[in-house]
Amino acid sequence: MVTSEDIKTWIEVGLPGAQVEIDGDGHHFNAVIVSADFSGKNRVQQHQLVYQALGDKMKAEIHALSMRTFTPEEWAAQQRA
């Protein structure tokens, strides 16, 4: 079974330097991902980067992944809000 830790590691390998937090129950996962690579990209492109990092695992191991993506600037603003 896939664990939150697995998904965190896969995303971190694909997006070096990203801050990743995952919670999940083995079937449904919620991810918050903060990465400088997201800067200048729209939400669709940001999620595509994460999906790219996960590659074929999205087709097989991971059934349901919900995610929120932030640039470091957006994340800082979110923390202040």
Binding site: H28, R43, V44, H47, Q48, Y51, M58, K59, A64, L65, S66, M67, R68
Partner: protein, 104 residues
């Protein structure tokens, strides 16, 4: 006509179209159900395509948008996102704006 052409035609001929698992009345997956709820909350009229009814569409739409999951929302021929992005755009009011422009 190839599957990709068929999908292109579907998203271009409908102002708002949701590719989903199941139907708006009977969604077969939590994310698709949430996507329908968001669109209904916006009062949107939308077409829907049940990808479970056609494996070629199910795979084809993933290639079309380079997006590995369903649901997928298209407004005015443009890929808007999956259910997470729909929820975020709904919460900040941008989805209502896009839907309003598409209906105009």
């Amino acid at each position: 006509m190839t599957i990709q052409d068929q999908i292109k035609q579907t998203v271009e001929q409908n102002d708002v179209v949701l590719f989903m698992k199941g139907t708006p009345d009977f969604p077969q997956c939590g994310f698709s159900g949430r996507a329908v709820q968001v669109l209904k909350a916006c009062g949107a009229h939308f077409a829907s395509v049940d990808v479970l009814a056609d494996p070629q569409i199910r795979e084809g739409v993933k290639q079309y948008s380079n997006w590995p999951t369903v649901p997928q929302l298209y407004i005015g021929g443009e890929f808007v996102g999956g259910s997470d992005i729909m929820m975020e755009l709904y919460q900040n009011g941008e989805l209502q704006k896009k839907l309003g422009e598409a209906a105009a």
